[in-house]
Amino acid sequence: MQLTEKHKKYWNINLKISSALLVLWFVSTFVMGWYARELNAIEIIGPLGFYMSAQGSLIIYVAIIAYYAYFMNNLDKEYGVHEGELD
């Protein structure tokens, strides 16, 4: 099994998108949590810090996973590593 340059590029793109999304995940969890008191001073749909932890961050998580699945499933096709038809 020999990996081509194209394969390596696919893996690098995967690492980049994964890290970018994980940074977003980290910010919407830990950074928001750390500054919850400060964010609570801002009032949008209730105190912002509370709202983010109760609902906002959850929506971001769902979006992160949806985007990752969409992006990777397209990337597979673009780089010819997608799976064949199942039946």
């Binding site: 099994m1 990996l3 994980l22 830990f30 609570n40 749909i45 609902q55 961050s57 499933n73 199942l86």
Partner: protein, 705 residues
């Protein structure tokens, strides 16, 4: 079914489950009609309990199988959408269903650690693990460790870790099953545990993962319907808006916040009444403290003197010119209730001392890390401690999510890597539906209590309050402390589980919806318990027996061993549960911390770091598990650390977040171990490439079916 193509299979499934959902709704309506005809509530409870268990048994029986691939991974043909629902049911336990909204009601912002931790972990599952594990294929998580790191030891540690964390977690689930069965049918808790156990076994015994998957989909539908109906109704009742997730923040929360301020403002009418109750609690607490000091100093003599005082009071009251019958009765009762010996007195007075907590001001629901303290420095110190623990708990729950084998195993069952990715999305989406409703429910329930219950008269309490306070004092305890005939917030004590259980009644729905909620809670507990028991039985039968002890065992024998073990493990778990061990929340937390420390570093490094090898995995997994277990041992009172528990803590981290130290230990172990020994051979490097790409030319095959 081999001839049916995947797309036909999917559309058949959609049809079956649409019929099923319609049938279930019709069933609920039918029970509703029975209720209107005057059938007693207890019978309705039984109907719900047995009808749903029979339903799961039916699905379990129809999914019986003798095929290894179907038994362990449902034939790898579960479409993304359905695997998502199964993941949702597998994931959401009795604690999420019944306890979550209550925890949020009681602890406000700080309870959100659970909401965040139990959803955000799926980002790690989606990005770091699910697609790669699916490509690898095979049957269990120890399978991956065994193949990736070579040798029996990594697999064996994986088996131990899987059993330890799943068993800890399953006890919490069976406990939930027992609680629900006993509450809604009046059976004894111990009997309820074994009835529930029967419900668990009928789902998994005949068809393994295949049966568990299809019952979990059915259970998800019941649990989400049961959760949503009362909350939507409550939202309409209070705000006129049928979307609780919006109305709670825009309409209920501002009112709750305003009421909180009023309760804490002694100059407002409501605040003044609250203050009069709090003053009584402070007095009682001070009296309790004084009596404890007296007992400490004079021992039994003090006890006798105190009792004498009460007896004298009775005599004095009786000797009055116009005896007050009520006062005499009360005084005689206090003589009768007087603690019999020093130990009983100490217990009673310590409880009295503790009522000081009820004199505290109302905590603002949305305020993050609200802590007390005498000086600004002390408050600052306590706050940073609360903040640290909040974030540490989130981290342990998230990483634990991405490491619990019963969840990761679900991604082996999808038809492809593509579907596995989509299925994590559906999984989190279905979980999200419940988890973003729970905080809204907590706010709506709080609004009900603050605006309708508080200020109502004791002579005409709302029906749900009087019902629940007679059913269970730990859930609803209400007493007119200052004798003004009006309910004050400080006079009400609510147990967390009440919120979800009482919502149908608060919203004014008929009893049939309460039965539906109980069925939902049962579905949540059963489905999680099923997934966990199967994980334990598979780790023992597949990894321990087949892979390590007898690799030549026949298919029939492998399945027989697996089913036998399932039965044994289930009975053990039910037995341990019936002893009612410890604190449920701690058990759950411990399971997450252990899984996070034991599995996560090895699994992630296995995919993303080619250099990771046998020695690294062995060192990393044992260091992670070891540190995590050691930290719990030295800081959790159950293990007998006594007065040193708090002093033993590292950086003030609570024992529930032991993974805070276990996870880094796991990573350090795997890095050091790998770097001091030789790089893995070509075969294993090829395996890593194999899992990284969904499809490669000249690829190796690891499916193993």
């Amino acid at each position: 079914m081999a001839e049916v193509t995947q797309s036909q299979f999917t559309s058949n499934l959609k049809r079956y489950y649409s019929f099923y959902t319609g049938g279930f709704v019709a069933f609920v309506i039918l029970v509703g009609i029975l209720e209107q005809m005057g059938v007693p509530n207890k019978i309705l409870g039984y109907i719900f309990l047995f009808a749903t268990i029979m339903l799961y048994a039916g699905i379990g029986f129809m999914s019986k199988t003798a095929d290894v691939g179907e038994y362990y991974v449902a034939g790898r043909r579960v479409p993304a959408l359905f695997n998502g629902m199964a993941t949702g049911a597998d994931w959401m336990s009795a604690a999420s269903f019944i306890g979550m909204a209550g925890t949020l009601y009681l602890s406000g912002y700080d309870g959100l650690a659970f909401v965040l931790g139990w959803t955000g972990g799926y980002c790690l599952v989606a990005i770091l693990l699910a697609p790669y594990l699916r490509k690898f294929g095979q049957f269990t998580i120890p399978d991956f460790l065994g193949a990736r790191f070579g040798g029996h030891l990594p697999r064996f540690i994986g088996v131990v870790a899987a059993i330890v964390c799943s068993f800890t977690y399953v006890i919490a689930q069976i406990y939930g099953v027992g609680l629900i069965t006993s509450r809604f049918t009046g059976l004894e808790f111990q009997v309820g545990v074994f009835v529930g156990l029967a419900g668990i076994l009928v789902c998994s015994f005949l068809g393994g993962m295949k049966a568990v998957t299809w019952t979990q989909v059915a259970q998800y539908i019941i649990l989400i319907v049961a959760y949503m109906i009362p909350v939507v109704w409550l939202s309409v009742k209070h705000t006129g808006n049928p979307i609780p997730q919006i109305s709670a923040y825009t309409s209920a929360l501002p009112k709750v916040t305003a009421l909180e301020k009023e309760f804490n403002d002694k100059t407002s009418p409501k605040g003044a009444k609250e203050e009069s109750v709090r003053a009584i609690f402070r007095e009682r607490s001070a009296a309790g403290t004084a009596k404890l000091a007296g007992l400490e100093k004079d021992g039994p003599a003090f006890l006798a003197a105190e009792k004498q005082k009460l007896t004298d009071k009775v005599a004095a009251l009786k000797a009055e010119a116009t005896p007050d019958a009520k006062a005499i009765e009360a005084a005689e009762k206090s003589v009768k209730d007087f603690p019999a010996d020093a130990a009983a007195a100490k217990k009673a007075w310590t409880a009295e001392k503790g009522v000081a907590a009820r004199a505290a001001p109302v905590k603002a629901h949305a305020e993050a890390f609200a802590v007390g303290g005498k000086t600004p420095e002390e408050i600052e110190k306590n706050r940073s401690k609360a903040k640290k623990n909040f974030l540490a708990l989130i981290m342990c729950l998230m990483i634990g999510t991405a490491a619990l084998p019963h969840i990761l195993m679900r991604y082996y069952t999808t038809p492809s890597v593509h579907e596995a990715r989509v299925s994590v999305f559906w999984g989190l989406f279905f979980i999200f539906l419940l988890y973003f409703t729970a905080p809204a429910l907590a706010i709506l329930a709080k609004y009900e209590v603050y605006s309708n219950l508080v200020g109502s008269s004791f002579a005409s309490l709302p029906a749900w309050v009087s019902n629940w306070s007679t059913v269970d004092k730990t859930l609803m305890n209400i007493a007119d402390i200052n004798k003004d005939g009006i309910v004050q917030l400080a006079e009400v004590v609510i147990g967390g589980d009440l919120i979800v259980l009482a919502t149908p009644e608060i919203a004014g729905l008929p009893y049939v919806i309460s039965g539906l909620v109980a069925a939902g809670g049962l579905a949540a507990a059963l489905s999680t318990a099923d997934g966990l028991l199967l994980t334990i039985a598979n780790a023992m039968s597949h990894d321990l027996y087949y892979k390590m002890i007898d690799p030549n065992a026949s298919t029939v024998r492998r399945l027989a061993v697996s089913k036998g073990l399932l039965l044994v493990v289930a009975l053990c778990a039910a037995y341990v549960t019936s002893l009612k061990p410890g604190d449920i929340l701690f058990l759950v937390g411990a399971a997450f911390s252990l899984a996070a420390s034991g599995f996560f570093p090895a699994l992630v490094c296995g995919v993303f770091w080619k250099r990771a090898n046998y020695l690294g995995a062995v060192l990393g997994m044992s260091a992670g598990l070891g540190i995590c277990a050691y930290y719990m041992f030295i800081t959790y009172p159950f293990f007998g650390c006594g007065a040193n528990c708090v002093a033993n803590q590292w950086w003030d981290i609570a024992p529930i977040s032991a993974g805070t130290f276990g996870i880094p230990a796991g990573f350090i172990g795997i890095i050091i171990g790998s770097l001091i020994s030789a790089a893995p051979n070509k075969e294993i490097q090829d395996l890593v490439d194999h899992v990284r790409y969904p499809n490669l030319e000249g690829d190796i095959d690891t499916k193993g079916v």
